[in-house]
Protein backbone atom coordinates (compact mmCIF):
# COMPACT_ATOMS: atom_id res chain seq x y z
CA UNK A 1 0.00 0.00 0.00
CA UNK A 2 2.69 2.43 1.07
CA UNK A 3 4.72 1.46 -1.96
CA UNK A 4 1.93 2.24 -4.35
CA UNK A 5 1.37 5.55 -2.65
CA UNK A 6 5.00 6.60 -3.04
CA UNK A 7 5.28 5.55 -6.68
CA UNK A 8 2.07 7.35 -7.42
CA UNK A 9 3.38 10.46 -5.79
CA UNK A 10 6.63 10.19 -7.71
CA UNK A 11 4.73 9.96 -10.96
CA UNK A 12 2.77 13.04 -10.14
CA UNK A 13 5.90 14.96 -9.27
CA UNK A 14 7.46 14.04 -12.58
CA UNK A 15 4.21 14.88 -14.36
CA UNK A 16 4.16 18.46 -13.13
CA UNK A 17 7.80 19.31 -13.78
CA UNK A 18 6.99 22.66 -15.35
CA UNK A 19 10.37 23.18 -16.93
CA UNK A 20 10.38 19.89 -18.80
CA UNK A 21 10.19 19.87 -22.59
CA UNK A 22 10.11 16.54 -24.43
CA UNK A 23 13.23 15.54 -26.34
CA UNK A 24 15.39 18.38 -25.13
CA UNK A 25 17.63 16.25 -22.95
CA UNK A 26 18.28 13.84 -25.82
CA UNK A 27 19.24 16.72 -28.09
CA UNK A 28 21.62 17.99 -25.43
CA UNK A 29 23.34 14.63 -25.21
CA UNK A 30 23.50 14.54 -28.99
CA UNK A 31 25.10 17.97 -28.90
CA UNK A 32 27.77 16.80 -26.46
CA UNK A 33 28.48 13.69 -28.53
CA UNK A 34 28.84 15.76 -31.69
CA UNK A 35 31.21 18.14 -29.93
CA UNK A 36 33.39 15.51 -28.34
CA UNK A 37 33.33 12.38 -30.54
CA UNK A 38 35.75 13.73 -33.17
CA UNK A 39 38.14 14.94 -30.50
CA UNK A 40 37.95 11.57 -28.75
CA UNK A 41 38.85 9.78 -31.98
CA UNK A 42 41.75 12.14 -32.55
CA UNK A 43 43.12 11.62 -29.05
CA UNK A 44 42.62 7.87 -29.20
CA UNK A 45 44.59 7.38 -32.40
CA UNK A 46 47.47 9.51 -31.18
CA UNK A 47 48.24 6.52 -28.96
CA UNK A 48 48.03 4.04 -31.83
CA UNK A 49 51.17 2.07 -32.51
CA UNK A 50 50.26 1.76 -36.19
CA UNK A 51 50.70 4.50 -38.75
CA UNK A 52 46.99 4.38 -39.45
CA UNK A 53 44.66 6.88 -37.87
CA UNK A 54 41.69 4.60 -38.39
CA UNK A 55 42.58 1.04 -37.49
CA UNK A 56 43.58 0.45 -33.90
CA UNK A 57 46.44 -1.96 -33.31
CA UNK A 58 48.27 -1.37 -30.06
CA UNK A 59 48.84 1.30 -27.44
CA UNK A 60 52.07 3.21 -27.85
CA UNK A 61 53.64 6.59 -27.10
CA UNK A 62 55.89 6.43 -30.17
CA UNK A 63 54.19 9.31 -31.93
CA UNK A 64 54.65 11.57 -28.93
CA UNK A 65 58.36 10.73 -28.85
CA UNK A 66 58.60 11.37 -32.60
CA UNK A 67 56.78 14.70 -32.28
CA UNK A 68 58.96 15.71 -29.34
CA UNK A 69 62.11 15.03 -31.33
CA UNK A 70 60.85 16.78 -34.46
CA UNK A 71 62.84 20.00 -34.86
CA UNK A 72 60.16 21.62 -36.99
CA UNK A 73 57.64 21.12 -34.21
CA UNK A 74 60.08 22.28 -31.55
CA UNK A 75 60.79 25.48 -33.43
CA UNK A 76 57.11 26.10 -34.18
CA UNK A 77 56.18 25.57 -30.54
CA UNK A 78 58.79 28.07 -29.40
CA UNK A 79 57.59 30.67 -31.90
CA UNK A 80 54.00 30.11 -30.78
CA UNK A 81 54.88 30.49 -27.11
CA UNK A 82 56.97 33.60 -27.71
CA UNK A 83 54.29 35.33 -29.76
CA UNK A 84 51.48 34.28 -27.43
CA UNK A 85 53.32 35.35 -24.31
CA UNK A 86 54.27 38.82 -25.52
CA UNK A 87 50.85 39.38 -27.10
CA UNK A 88 49.21 38.26 -23.85
CA UNK A 89 51.20 40.63 -21.65
CA UNK A 90 50.74 43.71 -23.85
CA UNK A 91 47.10 43.11 -24.73
CA UNK A 92 46.15 42.39 -21.09
CA UNK A 93 47.75 45.62 -19.89
CA UNK A 94 46.06 47.65 -22.63
CA UNK A 95 42.74 45.90 -22.06
CA UNK A 96 42.88 46.50 -18.30
CA UNK A 97 43.54 50.19 -18.82
CA UNK A 98 40.73 50.45 -21.34
CA UNK A 99 38.33 48.49 -19.11
CA UNK A 100 39.01 50.82 -16.18
CA UNK A 101 38.02 53.91 -18.15
CA UNK A 102 35.00 52.34 -19.77
CA UNK A 103 33.47 51.30 -16.44
CA UNK A 104 34.97 53.35 -13.63
CA UNK A 105 34.07 56.84 -14.78
CA UNK A 106 30.75 58.57 -15.26
CA UNK A 107 29.46 58.15 -18.83
CA UNK A 108 31.05 60.56 -21.26
CA UNK A 109 30.78 61.43 -24.91
CA UNK A 110 32.69 58.95 -27.06
CA UNK A 111 32.64 56.11 -24.54
CA UNK A 112 30.41 53.97 -26.73
CA UNK A 113 32.64 54.63 -29.71
CA UNK A 114 35.67 53.62 -27.65
CA UNK A 115 33.99 50.35 -26.69
CA UNK A 116 33.03 49.73 -30.32
CA UNK A 117 36.62 50.29 -31.45
CA UNK A 118 37.92 47.87 -28.83
CA UNK A 119 35.44 45.22 -29.95
CA UNK A 120 36.07 45.85 -33.65
CA UNK A 121 38.27 42.77 -34.18
CA UNK A 122 35.31 40.63 -33.04
CA UNK A 123 32.94 42.16 -35.57
CA UNK A 124 35.10 41.83 -38.70
CA UNK A 125 35.70 38.40 -40.23
CA UNK A 126 39.20 37.27 -39.37
CA UNK A 127 40.07 36.79 -43.05
CA UNK A 128 39.39 40.45 -43.72
CA UNK A 129 41.45 41.56 -40.71
CA UNK A 130 44.22 39.27 -41.91
CA UNK A 131 44.18 40.70 -45.42
CA UNK A 132 44.10 44.27 -44.15
CA UNK A 133 46.97 43.64 -41.78
CA UNK A 134 49.00 41.93 -44.49
CA UNK A 135 48.66 44.90 -46.82
CA UNK A 136 49.34 47.41 -44.08
CA UNK A 137 52.46 45.63 -42.90
CA UNK A 138 53.69 45.19 -46.48
CA UNK A 139 53.52 48.97 -46.90
CA UNK A 140 55.39 49.58 -43.64
CA UNK A 141 58.01 46.96 -44.47
CA UNK A 142 58.60 48.58 -47.82
CA UNK A 143 58.82 52.06 -46.34
CA UNK A 144 61.06 51.26 -43.38
CA UNK A 145 62.90 48.15 -44.46
CA UNK A 146 62.39 46.73 -40.98
CA UNK A 147 61.22 43.14 -40.77
CA UNK A 148 60.96 40.59 -38.01
CA UNK A 149 58.58 38.83 -35.70
CA UNK A 150 57.40 42.16 -34.25
CA UNK A 151 54.75 42.43 -36.96
CA UNK A 152 53.24 39.09 -36.05
CA UNK A 153 53.24 40.01 -32.37
CA UNK A 154 51.61 43.37 -33.10
CA UNK A 155 48.87 41.72 -35.15
CA UNK A 156 48.21 39.17 -32.42
CA UNK A 157 48.17 41.87 -29.73
CA UNK A 158 45.53 43.91 -31.52
CA UNK A 159 43.43 40.81 -32.11
CA UNK A 160 43.74 39.68 -28.47
CA UNK A 161 42.71 42.98 -26.82
CA UNK A 162 38.93 42.44 -27.06
CA UNK A 163 39.26 38.91 -25.67
CA UNK A 164 41.27 40.13 -22.68
CA UNK A 165 38.91 43.08 -22.31
CA UNK A 166 35.72 41.02 -21.93
CA UNK A 167 36.33 39.27 -18.59
CA UNK A 168 38.11 42.27 -17.09
CA UNK A 169 35.22 44.55 -17.93
CA UNK A 170 32.71 41.99 -16.68
CA UNK A 171 34.55 41.77 -13.38
CA UNK A 172 34.69 45.54 -13.03
CA UNK A 173 30.99 45.84 -13.73
CA UNK A 174 30.28 43.36 -10.97
CA UNK A 175 32.50 45.22 -8.52
CA UNK A 176 30.70 47.64 -6.24
CA UNK A 177 31.88 51.18 -6.93
CA UNK A 178 31.31 52.00 -3.27
CA UNK A 179 34.32 49.85 -2.31
CA UNK A 180 36.63 52.30 -4.02
CA UNK A 181 34.71 55.21 -2.54
CA UNK A 182 35.05 53.65 0.89
CA UNK A 183 38.83 53.42 0.41
CA UNK A 184 39.00 57.06 -0.68
CA UNK A 185 36.84 57.98 2.28
CA UNK A 186 39.38 56.19 4.50
CA UNK A 187 42.16 58.49 3.30
CA UNK A 188 43.56 56.38 0.44
CA UNK A 189 44.75 58.59 -2.46
CA UNK A 190 43.83 57.36 -5.97
CA UNK A 191 46.95 55.29 -6.55
CA UNK A 192 46.59 53.51 -3.22
CA UNK A 193 42.89 52.90 -3.89
CA UNK A 194 43.91 51.19 -7.11
CA UNK A 195 46.74 49.15 -5.56
CA UNK A 196 45.01 48.13 -2.34
CA UNK A 197 41.39 47.72 -3.44
CA UNK A 198 40.71 47.80 -7.19
CA UNK A 199 43.65 45.69 -8.36
CA UNK A 200 43.35 42.84 -5.82
CA UNK A 201 39.63 42.55 -6.48
CA UNK A 202 40.14 42.76 -10.23
CA UNK A 203 42.91 40.14 -10.29
CA UNK A 204 40.70 37.13 -11.14
CA UNK A 205 39.33 39.08 -14.11
CA UNK A 206 42.81 40.08 -15.25
CA UNK A 207 44.08 36.50 -14.99
CA UNK A 208 41.09 35.19 -16.93
CA UNK A 209 41.62 37.90 -19.55
CA UNK A 210 45.32 37.10 -19.83
CA UNK A 211 44.62 33.41 -20.30
CA UNK A 212 41.98 34.07 -22.93
CA UNK A 213 44.42 36.31 -24.78
CA UNK A 214 47.07 33.61 -24.54
CA UNK A 215 44.74 30.93 -25.89
CA UNK A 216 43.47 33.13 -28.70
CA UNK A 217 47.00 33.95 -29.79
CA UNK A 218 48.17 30.37 -29.44
CA UNK A 219 45.23 29.08 -31.51
CA UNK A 220 45.28 31.65 -34.24
CA UNK A 221 45.64 30.36 -37.77
CA UNK A 222 44.25 32.85 -40.26
CA UNK A 223 45.98 36.08 -39.26
CA UNK A 224 49.23 34.21 -38.72
CA UNK A 225 48.92 32.55 -42.13
CA UNK A 226 48.81 35.94 -43.81
CA UNK A 227 51.19 37.92 -41.62
CA UNK A 228 53.90 35.45 -40.56
CA UNK A 229 57.17 35.79 -42.44
CA UNK A 230 59.61 33.01 -43.24
CA UNK A 231 60.89 31.24 -40.13
CA UNK A 232 57.90 32.47 -38.14
CA UNK A 233 55.86 29.30 -38.47
CA UNK A 234 53.70 28.86 -35.40
CA UNK A 235 52.47 25.49 -34.21
CA UNK A 236 49.01 25.82 -35.79
CA UNK A 237 50.63 26.83 -39.10
CA UNK A 238 52.91 23.84 -38.88
CA UNK A 239 49.98 21.54 -38.21
CA UNK A 240 48.02 23.06 -41.10
CA UNK A 241 50.96 22.44 -43.42
CA UNK A 242 51.23 18.83 -42.28
CA UNK A 243 47.48 18.20 -42.65
CA UNK A 244 47.60 19.48 -46.21
CA UNK A 245 50.29 16.90 -46.93
CA UNK A 246 48.33 14.03 -45.40
CA UNK A 247 47.22 12.74 -42.03
CA UNK A 248 49.67 11.06 -39.66
CA UNK A 249 49.37 10.05 -36.00
CA UNK A 250 52.19 12.50 -35.31
CA UNK A 251 49.76 15.37 -35.98
CA UNK A 252 47.33 13.65 -33.62
CA UNK A 253 49.97 13.58 -30.91
CA UNK A 254 50.86 17.26 -31.28
CA UNK A 255 47.18 18.15 -31.45
CA UNK A 256 46.43 16.19 -28.31
CA UNK A 257 49.12 18.04 -26.36
CA UNK A 258 47.81 21.29 -27.76
CA UNK A 259 44.24 20.43 -26.75
CA UNK A 260 45.44 19.46 -23.29
CA UNK A 261 47.00 22.87 -22.77
CA UNK A 262 43.84 24.63 -23.95
CA UNK A 263 41.64 22.54 -21.68
CA UNK A 264 43.84 23.29 -18.67
CA UNK A 265 43.75 27.02 -19.38
CA UNK A 266 40.00 27.01 -19.98
CA UNK A 267 39.50 25.15 -16.73
CA UNK A 268 41.45 27.84 -14.90
CA UNK A 269 39.41 30.58 -16.54
CA UNK A 270 36.25 28.76 -15.60
CA UNK A 271 37.31 28.48 -11.97
CA UNK A 272 38.32 32.15 -11.78
CA UNK A 273 35.05 33.14 -13.39
CA UNK A 274 33.11 31.21 -10.75
CA UNK A 275 35.12 32.85 -7.98
CA UNK A 276 32.38 35.35 -7.26
CA UNK A 277 29.71 33.79 -5.16
Amino acid sequence: MVDIATTARRKIIKGIDLKYQPGFSQITWFCIVVLYAPIAVLVLFSFNENRSVTVWTQFSLDWYVKAWENEGIQHAALVSLEVAFVAMVISTILATMAALVTTRTPPYRGMNIAVAVINQPLMVPEVVTAVATLIFFAIIKQATGISGIGYLIAAHTAFCIPFAYMPIRARLEDMDLSLEQAAADLYAPPFKVFRRVTLPLLMPGILAGAMLAFIVSLDDVIITLFVAGPGETTLPLYILGQIRRGVTPEINAVSTVFLGISVILVTFIFLFGKDKK
Binding site: L179, Q181, A182, A184, D185, A188, P189, R196, L201
Partner: protein, 368 residues
Amino acid sequence: MSTQTATAAIDIRETSKIYGRNRETGVVALDQVSLAIRDNEFFTLLGPSGCGKTTLLRLIAGFEQPTHGEILLFGEHLEGLPPYKRPVNTVFQHYALFPHMTVAENISFGLEMLDTPNTQISSTVKEVLGLVQMEHLANRKTDQLSGGQQQRVALARALAPKPKVLLLDEPLSALDFKLRKEMQVELKRLQNETGITFIFVTHDQEEALTMSDRVAVMRDGLILQVGNPREIYDRPAKRFVADFIGDINILKGRILSKNGAQATVKLNAGYQGTAGLPAETDSLGDEVSIAIRPEQLSFVSGAGPEHLSGSIQHISYFGSGFDYEIVMPTGETIMLQLQNRGAGDHAYTVGDRAHIAISENSMQILAD
Protein backbone atom coordinates in the same frame (compact mmCIF):
# COMPACT_ATOMS: atom_id res chain seq x y z
CA MET B 1 32.18 83.13 25.98
CA SER B 2 30.74 85.35 23.34
CA THR B 3 27.07 85.46 22.59
CA GLN B 4 27.90 84.17 19.10
CA THR B 5 26.97 80.54 18.54
CA ALA B 6 29.88 78.08 18.54
CA THR B 7 31.40 77.11 15.18
CA ALA B 8 29.18 74.61 13.40
CA ALA B 9 30.54 71.12 12.73
CA ILE B 10 29.20 71.34 9.21
CA ASP B 11 28.09 74.60 7.66
CA ILE B 12 26.37 74.31 4.30
CA ARG B 13 25.88 77.61 2.53
CA GLU B 14 23.50 78.01 -0.41
CA THR B 15 24.72 74.81 -1.90
CA SER B 16 23.27 73.45 -5.13
CA LYS B 17 23.99 70.28 -7.03
CA ILE B 18 22.82 70.10 -10.60
CA TYR B 19 23.38 67.08 -12.81
CA GLY B 20 23.63 68.02 -16.45
CA ARG B 21 24.57 71.21 -18.25
CA ASN B 22 22.40 73.72 -16.45
CA ARG B 23 19.31 74.30 -14.33
CA GLU B 24 16.89 74.19 -17.22
CA THR B 25 17.87 70.91 -18.81
CA GLY B 26 19.60 69.16 -15.93
CA VAL B 27 18.34 67.56 -12.75
CA VAL B 28 18.45 69.75 -9.66
CA ALA B 29 19.35 67.40 -6.82
CA LEU B 30 19.97 70.15 -4.29
CA ASP B 31 18.54 73.61 -4.61
CA GLN B 32 20.46 76.35 -2.73
CA VAL B 33 20.38 74.55 0.57
CA SER B 34 21.71 76.20 3.72
CA LEU B 35 22.12 74.22 6.92
CA ALA B 36 24.30 74.33 10.04
CA ILE B 37 24.93 71.13 11.97
CA ARG B 38 26.25 71.59 15.51
CA ASP B 39 29.20 69.82 17.05
CA ASN B 40 28.40 66.61 18.93
CA GLU B 41 24.93 66.43 17.45
CA PHE B 42 23.02 63.42 16.16
CA PHE B 43 21.57 65.03 13.07
CA THR B 44 19.22 63.28 10.66
CA LEU B 45 18.42 64.06 7.04
CA LEU B 46 14.94 62.65 6.46
CA GLY B 47 13.00 62.45 3.23
CA PRO B 48 11.65 60.19 0.49
CA SER B 49 14.02 58.77 -2.11
CA GLY B 50 15.22 61.37 -4.57
CA CYS B 51 14.84 64.24 -2.11
CA GLY B 52 18.57 65.05 -2.17
CA LYS B 53 19.56 63.72 1.26
CA THR B 54 22.12 61.26 -0.07
CA THR B 55 23.47 63.86 -2.48
CA LEU B 56 24.03 66.21 0.44
CA LEU B 57 25.91 63.48 2.30
CA ARG B 58 28.07 62.73 -0.73
CA LEU B 59 28.90 66.41 -1.11
CA ILE B 60 30.11 66.49 2.49
CA ALA B 61 32.11 63.27 1.99
CA GLY B 62 33.63 64.69 -1.20
CA PHE B 63 32.46 61.99 -3.61
CA GLU B 64 30.83 64.76 -5.56
CA GLN B 65 31.49 68.46 -5.90
CA PRO B 66 28.77 71.08 -5.43
CA THR B 67 27.79 72.95 -8.57
CA HIS B 68 27.38 76.08 -6.52
CA GLY B 69 27.82 77.14 -2.90
CA GLU B 70 30.23 76.12 -0.18
CA ILE B 71 30.58 73.64 2.65
CA LEU B 72 32.63 74.33 5.77
CA LEU B 73 33.88 71.76 8.27
CA PHE B 74 34.51 73.42 11.66
CA GLY B 75 35.01 76.70 9.86
CA GLU B 76 37.32 75.37 7.16
CA HIS B 77 36.40 75.31 3.48
CA LEU B 78 36.18 71.87 1.95
CA GLU B 79 36.11 73.08 -1.63
CA GLY B 80 38.35 71.11 -3.96
CA LEU B 81 39.42 68.65 -1.28
CA PRO B 82 39.16 65.04 -2.48
CA PRO B 83 37.50 62.51 -0.13
CA TYR B 84 40.86 61.22 1.13
CA LYS B 85 41.81 64.65 2.44
CA ARG B 86 38.60 65.22 4.40
CA PRO B 87 38.52 64.23 8.08
CA VAL B 88 35.04 62.75 7.73
CA ASN B 89 34.17 59.07 7.33
CA THR B 90 31.18 57.31 5.84
CA VAL B 91 29.18 54.23 6.77
CA PHE B 92 27.87 53.03 3.43
CA GLN B 93 24.37 51.79 2.78
CA HIS B 94 25.53 48.29 1.84
CA TYR B 95 28.58 48.58 4.11
CA ALA B 96 31.17 48.39 1.26
CA LEU B 97 33.48 46.19 3.35
CA PHE B 98 36.59 45.09 1.45
CA PRO B 99 35.92 41.42 0.67
CA HIS B 100 39.60 40.53 0.33
CA MET B 101 40.48 41.68 3.84
CA THR B 102 39.67 40.44 7.34
CA VAL B 103 37.63 42.42 9.83
CA ALA B 104 40.79 43.76 11.50
CA GLU B 105 42.38 44.63 8.16
CA ASN B 106 39.26 46.51 7.13
CA ILE B 107 39.32 48.52 10.33
CA SER B 108 43.03 49.31 10.18
CA PHE B 109 42.86 50.40 6.51
CA GLY B 110 42.11 54.05 7.23
CA LEU B 111 44.75 54.26 9.96
CA GLU B 112 47.35 52.76 7.63
CA MET B 113 46.52 55.33 4.99
CA LEU B 114 47.09 58.04 7.58
CA ASP B 115 50.52 56.54 8.34
CA THR B 116 49.63 55.83 11.94
CA PRO B 117 52.41 53.93 13.79
CA ASN B 118 51.76 50.19 13.92
CA THR B 119 51.49 49.94 17.70
CA GLN B 120 48.86 52.63 17.73
CA ILE B 121 46.97 50.95 14.88
CA SER B 122 46.64 47.70 16.77
CA SER B 123 45.50 49.39 19.98
CA THR B 124 42.94 51.51 18.10
CA VAL B 125 41.63 48.49 16.21
CA LYS B 126 41.21 46.69 19.52
CA GLU B 127 39.48 49.68 21.03
CA VAL B 128 36.89 50.16 18.27
CA LEU B 129 36.29 46.42 17.99
CA GLY B 130 35.43 46.56 21.69
CA LEU B 131 33.22 49.55 21.08
CA VAL B 132 31.07 47.56 18.62
CA GLN B 133 31.47 44.26 20.53
CA MET B 134 33.21 42.41 17.73
CA GLU B 135 36.56 41.46 19.34
CA HIS B 136 35.98 37.75 18.82
CA LEU B 137 35.60 38.09 15.03
CA ALA B 138 38.70 40.19 14.30
CA ASN B 139 40.27 37.64 11.97
CA ARG B 140 37.15 36.65 10.04
CA LYS B 141 36.78 37.43 6.36
CA THR B 142 33.97 39.91 5.95
CA ASP B 143 31.84 37.67 3.74
CA GLN B 144 31.53 35.20 6.62
CA LEU B 145 29.65 37.72 8.74
CA SER B 146 25.92 38.22 9.19
CA GLY B 147 24.25 41.45 8.13
CA GLY B 148 24.27 42.85 11.66
CA GLN B 149 27.93 41.96 12.14
CA GLN B 150 28.89 43.55 8.84
CA GLN B 151 27.05 46.64 9.99
CA ARG B 152 29.14 46.78 13.17
CA VAL B 153 32.38 46.32 11.25
CA ALA B 154 31.42 49.11 8.87
CA LEU B 155 30.79 51.34 11.88
CA ALA B 156 34.07 50.36 13.52
CA ARG B 157 35.97 50.97 10.29
CA ALA B 158 34.53 54.45 9.92
CA LEU B 159 35.11 55.32 13.60
CA ALA B 160 38.69 54.02 13.80
CA PRO B 161 40.38 57.09 12.25
CA LYS B 162 38.42 59.26 14.73
CA PRO B 163 36.69 61.43 12.13
CA LYS B 164 35.39 64.86 13.04
CA VAL B 165 32.05 63.96 11.51
CA LEU B 166 30.58 60.53 10.79
CA LEU B 167 28.27 60.22 7.80
CA LEU B 168 25.75 57.36 7.80
CA ASP B 169 23.95 56.61 4.53
CA GLU B 170 20.81 54.61 5.40
CA PRO B 171 22.97 52.09 7.24
CA LEU B 172 20.07 50.23 8.82
CA SER B 173 17.90 49.82 5.75
CA ALA B 174 19.23 46.34 4.92
CA LEU B 175 18.60 44.92 8.39
CA ASP B 176 15.45 43.17 9.55
CA PHE B 177 13.07 44.84 11.96
CA LYS B 178 14.39 43.53 15.30
CA LEU B 179 18.03 44.04 14.43
CA ARG B 180 17.22 47.52 13.24
CA LYS B 181 15.68 48.40 16.61
CA GLU B 182 18.79 47.08 18.38
CA MET B 183 21.15 49.01 16.13
CA GLN B 184 19.19 52.23 16.68
CA VAL B 185 19.95 52.03 20.38
CA GLU B 186 23.52 50.98 19.65
CA LEU B 187 24.13 53.91 17.30
CA LYS B 188 22.79 56.39 19.83
CA ARG B 189 25.09 54.89 22.50
CA LEU B 190 28.12 55.06 20.17
CA GLN B 191 27.42 58.67 19.42
CA ASN B 192 27.22 59.49 23.14
CA GLU B 193 30.41 57.59 23.93
CA THR B 194 32.54 58.94 21.11
CA GLY B 195 31.20 62.48 21.09
CA ILE B 196 31.50 62.54 17.30
CA THR B 197 28.96 64.45 15.22
CA PHE B 198 26.74 61.95 13.39
CA ILE B 199 24.92 62.87 10.19
CA PHE B 200 22.38 60.18 9.53
CA VAL B 201 20.42 59.75 6.31
CA THR B 202 17.14 57.83 6.34
CA HIS B 203 13.71 57.66 4.77
CA ASP B 204 12.26 56.03 7.89
CA GLN B 205 10.48 58.71 9.93
CA GLU B 206 10.24 56.58 13.06
CA GLU B 207 13.99 55.95 12.99
CA ALA B 208 14.59 59.67 12.62
CA LEU B 209 12.37 60.59 15.55
CA THR B 210 13.81 57.97 17.93
CA MET B 211 17.48 58.66 17.41
CA SER B 212 18.02 62.25 16.46
CA ASP B 213 18.81 65.41 18.36
CA ARG B 214 17.61 67.33 15.34
CA VAL B 215 15.98 66.38 12.05
CA ALA B 216 15.94 68.11 8.66
CA VAL B 217 12.99 67.08 6.49
CA MET B 218 13.85 67.27 2.80
CA ARG B 219 11.93 67.12 -0.43
CA ASP B 220 12.84 67.84 -4.07
CA GLY B 221 16.28 69.19 -3.19
CA LEU B 222 14.96 71.59 -0.56
CA ILE B 223 15.02 71.51 3.23
CA LEU B 224 11.42 72.04 4.40
CA GLN B 225 11.91 72.13 8.15
CA VAL B 226 14.70 71.72 10.69
CA GLY B 227 13.95 71.03 14.32
CA ASN B 228 14.04 68.54 17.17
CA PRO B 229 11.80 65.47 16.81
CA ARG B 230 9.02 67.00 18.97
CA GLU B 231 8.88 70.14 16.87
CA ILE B 232 8.85 68.15 13.67
CA TYR B 233 6.06 65.87 14.87
CA ASP B 234 3.89 68.26 16.88
CA ARG B 235 4.47 71.46 14.95
CA PRO B 236 4.99 70.54 11.29
CA ALA B 237 5.44 73.74 9.31
CA LYS B 238 4.38 72.38 5.97
CA ARG B 239 1.76 70.07 4.70
CA PHE B 240 4.39 67.68 3.28
CA VAL B 241 6.17 67.42 6.65
CA ALA B 242 2.91 66.71 8.44
CA ASP B 243 1.95 64.09 5.86
CA PHE B 244 5.33 62.40 5.67
CA ILE B 245 5.72 61.91 9.41
CA GLY B 246 3.07 59.80 11.10
CA ASP B 247 -0.68 59.81 10.42
CA ILE B 248 -2.39 63.12 10.23
CA ASN B 249 -5.81 64.68 9.73
CA ILE B 250 -5.85 67.79 7.63
CA LEU B 251 -9.01 69.88 8.00
CA LYS B 252 -10.03 73.19 6.49
CA GLY B 253 -10.66 76.25 8.64
CA ARG B 254 -10.20 80.04 8.95
CA ILE B 255 -7.87 82.18 11.06
CA LEU B 256 -9.92 84.44 13.35
CA SER B 257 -7.06 86.22 15.10
CA LYS B 258 -3.28 85.99 15.42
CA ASN B 259 -1.08 86.25 18.49
CA GLY B 260 2.63 85.68 17.75
CA ALA B 261 3.22 81.98 17.10
CA GLN B 262 -0.41 81.19 17.87
CA ALA B 263 -3.71 81.86 16.24
CA THR B 264 -7.35 81.32 16.97
CA VAL B 265 -8.97 79.28 14.26
CA LYS B 266 -12.42 78.06 13.45
CA LEU B 267 -12.71 74.71 11.66
CA ASN B 268 -15.30 74.47 8.90
CA ALA B 269 -16.54 71.43 10.80
CA GLY B 270 -17.46 73.64 13.74
CA TYR B 271 -14.76 73.53 16.39
CA GLN B 272 -13.00 76.72 17.49
CA GLY B 273 -9.63 76.86 19.33
CA THR B 274 -5.97 77.83 19.31
CA ALA B 275 -3.49 76.45 16.79
CA GLY B 276 0.27 76.77 16.22
CA LEU B 277 1.18 79.24 13.47
CA PRO B 278 4.28 78.83 11.31
CA ALA B 279 6.36 81.94 10.58
CA GLU B 280 5.30 82.83 7.05
CA THR B 281 1.54 82.45 6.92
CA ASP B 282 -1.67 83.53 5.40
CA SER B 283 -3.64 86.57 6.33
CA LEU B 284 -6.76 86.62 8.46
CA GLY B 285 -9.94 85.17 7.09
CA ASP B 286 -8.34 83.03 4.37
CA GLU B 287 -9.05 79.36 4.30
CA VAL B 288 -6.09 77.41 5.72
CA SER B 289 -5.18 73.75 6.28
CA ILE B 290 -5.07 72.68 9.90
CA ALA B 291 -3.35 69.49 11.04
CA ILE B 292 -4.46 67.33 13.96
CA ARG B 293 -2.83 64.02 14.94
CA PRO B 294 -5.35 61.13 15.23
CA GLU B 295 -4.19 60.31 18.76
CA GLN B 296 -5.10 63.84 19.92
CA LEU B 297 -8.76 63.05 19.33
CA SER B 298 -11.07 61.21 21.69
CA PHE B 299 -14.73 60.24 21.90
CA VAL B 300 -17.05 62.14 24.25
CA SER B 301 -20.60 61.25 25.14
CA GLY B 302 -22.56 64.45 24.52
CA ALA B 303 -22.73 66.84 21.59
CA GLY B 304 -21.62 70.45 22.01
CA PRO B 305 -20.12 73.43 20.19
CA GLU B 306 -16.60 72.48 21.40
CA HIS B 307 -16.92 69.05 19.80
CA LEU B 308 -16.88 67.61 16.29
CA SER B 309 -19.44 65.05 15.30
CA GLY B 310 -20.01 62.62 12.49
CA SER B 311 -20.77 59.01 11.71
CA ILE B 312 -18.32 56.14 11.92
CA GLN B 313 -17.54 54.80 8.50
CA HIS B 314 -14.80 52.30 9.13
CA ILE B 315 -12.96 50.73 12.06
CA SER B 316 -9.62 48.97 11.76
CA TYR B 317 -7.82 47.07 14.44
CA PHE B 318 -4.03 46.94 14.56
CA GLY B 319 -3.22 45.18 17.82
CA SER B 320 -2.18 47.96 20.13
CA GLY B 321 -5.13 50.09 19.13
CA PHE B 322 -7.99 51.03 16.82
CA ASP B 323 -8.37 53.50 13.98
CA TYR B 324 -11.81 55.02 13.49
CA GLU B 325 -12.72 56.80 10.28
CA ILE B 326 -15.46 59.32 10.84
CA VAL B 327 -17.30 61.29 8.16
CA MET B 328 -18.38 64.72 9.25
CA PRO B 329 -21.28 66.79 7.85
CA THR B 330 -18.77 68.93 5.88
CA GLY B 331 -17.86 65.78 3.91
CA GLU B 332 -14.40 65.73 5.50
CA THR B 333 -13.18 62.43 6.89
CA ILE B 334 -11.30 62.44 10.15
CA MET B 335 -9.27 59.65 11.69
CA LEU B 336 -9.24 58.97 15.41
CA GLN B 337 -6.82 56.63 17.09
CA LEU B 338 -7.44 54.91 20.42
CA GLN B 339 -5.17 52.73 22.52
CA ASN B 340 -6.32 49.18 23.10
CA ARG B 341 -7.13 49.11 26.81
CA GLY B 342 -9.12 45.91 26.95
CA ALA B 343 -12.57 44.72 26.02
CA GLY B 344 -15.64 46.86 26.45
CA ASP B 345 -13.65 50.03 26.13
CA HIS B 346 -15.09 51.01 22.79
CA ALA B 347 -18.70 50.29 22.24
CA TYR B 348 -18.83 51.96 18.80
CA THR B 349 -19.65 50.13 15.59
CA VAL B 350 -19.78 51.20 11.99
CA GLY B 351 -22.71 53.54 11.31
CA ASP B 352 -22.86 54.93 14.85
CA ARG B 353 -22.99 58.64 15.43
CA ALA B 354 -20.02 59.88 17.46
CA HIS B 355 -18.85 63.09 19.13
CA ILE B 356 -15.18 63.94 19.22
CA ALA B 357 -13.08 66.16 21.46
CA ILE B 358 -9.74 67.65 20.40
CA SER B 359 -6.90 67.89 22.95
CA GLU B 360 -5.84 71.31 24.10
CA ASN B 361 -3.25 73.02 21.91
CA SER B 362 -2.89 70.17 19.45
CA MET B 363 -3.82 71.91 16.21
CA GLN B 364 -1.23 73.26 13.81
CA ILE B 365 -1.72 75.55 10.82
CA LEU B 366 0.18 74.35 7.77
CA ALA B 367 1.90 76.34 5.07
CA ASP B 368 1.64 74.61 1.71
